[in-house]
């Protein structure tokens, strides 16, 4: 559930296994879909007159239709060009007129692969956004972020988060994650859904305080969840006057 969002942390930790596996599975699925689309368009574009006939019920017949007409999708820009290059090399429209036959073939293939890769990345991004919109709609979404400033008086070890007295996450921080936070990274600690109305957020911070002593502090915030998404930030700061860390929960209006 948690996911690191780093602003300027190139050496930050990689995402969690859950996100990696979901992402890679999505990538694999999207790649397979894109390849299938390309293969489908190539094979169906070869006999142009015959394939267009029964294109009403079967799935492979309906898929190539937008590809050959190059209508709206992102794949339309790349796939028809390749299909045209393979099926009708002679009446190519101007671009490859004076070139030899071998060179356009290899460069065309490279461009096609690049186009497919771009399509996969775009598709993956769209799917990720769609997944977030579906799982966490804006009217119920609550996101809790964590940021760490300076950190001279507190070495973060873990954060436990409770919403309405129910534990929603208990996150352990590794030295690399703390380092990334100290460099200015902001972590999305929790993303969930809440009903409209009053709620209470309690956060317990554990770690090493001044003089390397075990240190545990809590902070709480009562907030009203409206119809829009709610963003809260747990902020750990150093209070220089008291030589103590300060824990604050901010409501991003």
């Amino acid at each position: 559930m948690s996911q690191m969002v780093f602003d300027e942390a190139p050496c930050g930790p990689p995402p969690t296994a859950g996100t990696v596996t979901r992402g890679s599975a999505r990538c694999a699925g999207a790649l397979a879909a894109a390849l299938w689309l390309a293969v489908g368009s190539l094979t169906h574009a070869a006999p142009p007159g015959a394939a267009a006939g029964p294109a009403t019920t079967s799935v492979p017949a309906t898929i190539p239709a937008p590809a050959t007409t190059s209508a709206p999708g992102t794949t339309g820009g790349h796939v028809p060009a390749a299909a045209g290059g393979e099926t009708a090399p002679a009446p190519g429209p101007g671009a490859a007129g004076g070139e030899s036959a071998a060179q356009p073939g290899s460069t065309g293939l490279d461009q096609e692969i690049q186009g497919l890769k771009k399509d996969v990345v775009d598709l993956n991004r769209d799917l990720f956004i769609l997944e977030e919109e579906l799982l966490f709609p804006a009217n119920t979404q609550v996101a809790v972020f964590l940021s760490l400033d300076v950190g001279d008086f507190f070495a973060l070890d873990s954060v436990q988060l409770k919403i309405d007295k129910k534990e929603v996450i208990n996150y352990l921080y590794t030295p690399r994650e703390v380092e990334a936070l100290l460099k200015g990274g902001v972590q999305r600690l929790y993303l969930g859904n809440l009903k409209v109305g009053p709620h209470e957020l309690v956060a317990f911070f554990s770690g090493k305080g001044p003089n390397d002593r075990d240190y545990q502090r809590g902070a709480s915030l009562r907030f009203d969840k409206g119809v829009g998404a709610k963003y809260l930030e747990l902020k750990i700061d150093d209070r220089q006057r008291k030589l103590q860390p300060e824990f604050e929960i901010k409501d991003w209006e």
């Binding site: 990689p14 969690t16 296994a17 990696v20 596996t21 352990l172 590794t174 690399r176 994650e177």
Partner: protein, 185 residues
């Protein structure tokens, strides 16, 4: 009808004897333990992505598995009550000293309920790698630990590749063989 009734005493007795014998046979079949050389059930996580976790280390700090993508990771599950675990951890420590520079990470995951016992065991264990504490057994549950000591080998892509469910000289040889293969990939 009457003849049948007259002769039914012996028949009923015979039927009862047969039933009793069958029940005895059934009871024996159920009571006899299975052969010890029966193969253990296949490990379900082989070929699957290793479940990610973050645990406290016995010497302080936390460890997250996903931060070690790109390295070969060995997880060894141990307990302070397990007699063979100490021997195995020592053997793992030797392999860690040998292959550390080749990108090997070894973590011992303690599954003791009692954190104090696990801590004292971890402090007394003479190993160079990090020992982690899993008193809630969330990690051992996700790795389906059914025997101690148990060793799981994870490749550089984060996929579970091998599991060793005991410790012996033969299994240690197999472990080294599989470990070398993973490090060479």
């Amino acid at each position: 009808m009457g003849g049948r009734c007259g002769g039914s005493g012996a028949a009923v007795r015979g039927r009862l004897e047969r039933t009793a014998l069958a029940l005895c046979g059934l009871w024996l079949a159920l009571a006899v333990p299975p052969q010890s050389d029966a193969a253990p059930p296949p490990y379900a996580l082989i070929g699957a992505a290793a479940p990610d976790f973050a645990l406290h280390a016995a010497r302080g700090g936390n460890v997250r598995l996903s931060e070690h993508r790109g390295e070969v990771v060995v997880l060894s599950f141990w307990s302070s009550r397990c007699s063979g675990c100490r021997t195995q951890l020592t053997a793992l420590s030797r392999s860690f000293a040998t292959y550390r520079s080749a990108g090997l990470k070894i973590y011992g995951v303690g599954v003791d309920d009692d954190a104090a016992k696990a801590l004292s065991f971890a402090k007394s264990a003479d190993v160079d790698f990090t020992l982690l504490l899993d008193p809630e057994k969330s990690v051992s549950r996700s790795y389906q630990v059914d025997n101690l000591p148990m060793t799981v080998l994870i490749d550089r892509n984060g996929t579970v590749r091998h599991v060793l469910r005991d410790y012996s000289t033969a299994s240690n040889g197999l472990y080294l063989q599989e470990l070398r293969a993973l490090l060479n990939e």
